[in-house]
Amino acid sequence: MNEIMEKIKEGILDLFPEIGEVPITAEMCLGDIPEYDSMAAVNLQTFLEENFPLKVSLDMLAAEMTLGELASYIARFVKTKP
């Protein structure tokens, strides 16, 4: 789980350099990321599907989704993958 969160943080720092000093925590909503919009959601989707063995819909990446919820979703999928 920690590894998944660290990977998500790495992706957010790379995709959204404008985030600056904003703390990236499990409680952070995607909508809290500066300039997060529908286009940015696609970039995040691309990153997640490249780095984790799963497909994630754009609906999952709505502004209200927290990073912790996202990490939990990814963890469930990774655990169930044979």
């Binding site: 790379d14 529908s38 286009m39 940015a40 696609v42 970039n43 989707q45 691309t46 497909k55």
Partner: protein
């Protein structure tokens, strides 16, 4: 007083067609959004061996050959680009050499997507001032080589292409560039940019390769275009003493079909009066209005004597409009 009149036009689009389905780096779900968000169905990408001046030369040759104008008779070449061959020298200089336009001065202008509108104003001023009697204005862009192919906010929406217009001085008559309006808001210069590679962020100081890619804040650009586009068109026509109804065709920068529809609605103009080719070519930055002008004339949408409005908006932020009687 001599006026800058259109003697010929030309355009060039690379052969390689990239459809939305070809953009496999994005999910199928995302690819389905491209048309909805922008109207773009396909775009052209230059070959990896080509550079911006190659596209410019191709459009320029078509423009000159259409009317049998000898390149050695050209007195000036102005090239609009925001994706130059190199930081220096001007991309126009290679165009001048390859065309054999030995007598022509040549320089670049860069006002990003509004470059051609600014270019028309510059060319008009040079001809009206009797600095020269003819100028070839070319706009050439190769954004496929300055975009991050994984950035959905930019990569799907831009395409490569070039357009050219040969302007010649005429005295009397009613043809030519009748009026231009230009504007800039430098306080928003970060909204559309390529951050790295210049003196503000030299290559060795770049935190990573992303700094070398074009980027834009899409929602702000959309709002800006809808806000400033109608304003500059109204201002242009009011200052020129022309009504909307007298304009045969509006050739606006081909950024996004929703912007074009929005501008048409705000101005109360039928959408059919707006020329559209972004579905086939994407956003070709400053080349879009010159490509559109060439195609509109070729398709008979604009005939001799018709009034055309060119309007463009883009990085700077900048926006401009020109009124031309064909």
């Amino acid at each position: 007083m001599q006026r800058a009149c259109i003697l010929s036009t030309g355009s060039f689009l690379p052969e390689k067609i990239i459809s939305n389905e070809d953009l496999s780096q994005f999910s199928h779900e995302a690819r389905n959004l491209i048309v909805e968000k922008t109207g773009v169905q396909a775009r052209r990408h230059a070959d990896e061996t080509e550079c911006t001046s190659d596209l410019a030369i191709a459009a320029a040759r078509k423009c000159l050959q259409k009317v049998g104008f000898p390149p050695e008779n050209l007195q000036g070449i102005v090239l609009s680009t925001s994706s130059p061959d190199r930081l220096q020298p001007a991309t126009a200089t290679r165009v001048q050499h390859e065309l054999g336009a030995r007598a022509a001065f040549a320089f670049d202008i860069n006002s990003v997507c509004s470059g051609s509108s600014f270019g028309i104003a510059v060319v008009d001023a040079l001809i009206r001032s009797e600095t020269c009697r003819n100028i070839l204005l070319v706009a050439s862009e190769m954004y496929s080589k300055i975009l991050n192919r994984k950035d959905f906010a930019t990569y799907p929406f831009f395409g490569d292409g070039s357009g050219a217009v040969l302007f010649q001085a005429e005295r009397g008559g009613s043809r030519g560039v009748l009026h231009s309006c230009l504007a800039t808001d430098g306080s928003r210069s970060d909204i559309i940019c390529v951050p790295g590679g210049g003196t503000m962020l030299p290559f060795e100081k770049m935190p990573g390769p992303r700094s070398a890619y074009f980027r834009m804040r899409g929602e702000e650009v959309f709002a800006f275009s809808l806000d400033r586009g109608p304003v500059i068109i109204r201002r242009l026509l009011e200052e020129a003493g022309v009504t909307m109804e007298e304009v045969k065709c509006f050739i606006c920068h081909q950024a996004n079909i929703n912007i074009l529809h929005g501008i048409a609605g705000l101005l109360g103009i039928p959408r059919e009066k707006f020329f559209v080719n972004l579905d086939r070519y994407g956003n070709t930055a400053s080349a879009s209005v010159l490509i559109g002008l060439d195609e509109a004339i070729h398709e008979g949408r604009l005939m001799p004597g018709d009034l055309a409005v060119i309007a463009a908006f883009g990085g700077g932020l900048s926006w401009g409009a020109n009124l031309i009687r064909i």
